[in-house]
Amino acid sequence: MKNISCDVLVVGAGAAGLCAGSVTSKHGLDTIIIDREDQPGGILKQCIHNGFGLRYFKEELTGPEYACRVAKLAADAGAKIMTGTTAVEAKKNADGSFTFKVFSQKEKVCYISSKAVLFTTGCRERTRGNIITPGTRPAGVFTAGAAQKLLNISGYLPGKCAVIVGSGDIGLIMARRLKWCGIDVKAVVEIMRHPSGLTRNIVQCLDDFGIPLYLGHSVTNIYGKERVEAVDITPLADGKPDFSKTFKVDCDTLLFSVGLVPEVELAKQLEVKINPATGGAFVDDDYETTTPMVFASGNGLHVHDLVDFVSEESERAAGSICRRLSGAKNSDKVPVTVEKTLKYVVPTQATRGEKQSFYFRPLIVANKATLEARADGKIIKKRLIPFVRPAEMLEFELEIPAECKEMEFALTGGELL
């Protein structure tokens, strides 16, 4: 069995891993990026639509184009990208280093040891089981991402006539993709009273095609023995299905786009503590988890709206790894929390006297709300935000005062969900 050692092991060669790996490699650190897929690029490879890169590359790219760019950044910087390589076990050694057991097509079983680890493992999709949709269990029920992979990587049509559950971006993008492949899309069904995807995607993926969006509705039954034949759609009244108004829609395919959950199984083996609000690790402003020298960034840390944010965040995480491996100590930090108008903040620990970015997921809908930063209860900075939606992540740059003991953020002036 082969033993490989390096300075930095990056787990996952999506946008996060490739951008981070390019930074650590450029800094002179021996970096290995592993990925279980045969090609680097992660989920971007199957996101063939445009809309990526406006912020990071200053031009509009498709997912595969963005993937090519960041893979080239990492390769040109000298990072070693091992594809077809699956990590199955992670452990911490007595000397503070880490060893991962991996299965690789090329190397077979091998062990990779490193001084620092960065988890850029991305997300898993929530499924029918997560939202407990009743009915039979026929073929034709997919997560939106699985259907996207079938269409855009393998070249198979998932069906002929579809209903989509959930108005997240992947579901909306898939509605247009199915239409463009000649597949009928009967409805998009969203349990909330507002769409959960970006507004631009409602416009260009549903409105352009006249696909009805049923807000405040839920799929309450699936029919069909071998293959999906129809579904029941029921409006909600006071949060409960009003079955007197149920209607049946014929379809042979049902896609679920009902949210993403950060992939943290390997990180847990290194005793990384998980934030229930994000599903990812708790990290400080160095993107270091509760296990020293284990870092996390990208969608494996918290779900981002834009891959551009994933790239920027991962570069910062990589910068911290470079500093820490050059001997910088982790400084004393201020705890950062949010009021109930915000679902979470990343990071949850931050350094005093340094300018840094905080990311939030709002829990309110508002056409004008104020994002407030409070140091020990006193407002030190605020910003008016014209449109607040849970679908749209907020970013706030701030320097924490030198004397501060605790930071809290809140949104005021909106309607609580």
């Binding site: 639509h49 809309g51 498709t62 184009e65 393998s154 463009w180 507004t199 631009r200």
Partner: protein, 119 residues
């Protein structure tokens, strides 16, 4: 005339208002946070276009489809016809990122280009 639009140029989704007397090309646009918003509103009212992305079959069984895109936004009314043409193409690697797969699609002056490298 007053038209409300949502800009799709980037994920910010600015809410635009376009006001004009008779000619939408002369519209006054507000609500945009960057110049792309004004361009979008006027194009949307006079000649709506979308970037079209699709996959085309390849002769490589290990990677059976190749992602492609229009080199620039394509006239909305011709998208269905374009897709029918695209699905008839079959490409053989090697193909490089940005390589033209079909020149001057449907005589629009817009090319279909590869969105990926293939060896």
């Amino acid at each position: 005339m007053k038209k409300e639009l949502i800009c799709i140029s980037c994920p910010q989704g600015c809410r635009l208002t376009a006001e004009y007397a008779a000619d939408p090309a002369q519209a006054e646009v507000s609500g945009n946070r960057c110049p792309r918003g004004k361009t979008y509103a006027i194009t949307e009212l006079t000649d709506p276009r979308r970037v079209v992305t699709a996959v085309v079959p390849t002769t490589d069984s290990a990677r059976p489809v190749l992602p492609v895109r229009t080199s620039e936004p394509f006239p909305k009314g011709k998208i269905a016809e374009l897709l029918n043409e695209l699905y008839k193409i079959k490409v053989t690697p090697p193909i490089s990122l940005g390589e033209v797969i079909q020149k001057n699609a449907l005589d629009t002056g817009i090319d279909i280009i590869s969105a990926e490298n293939r060896n």
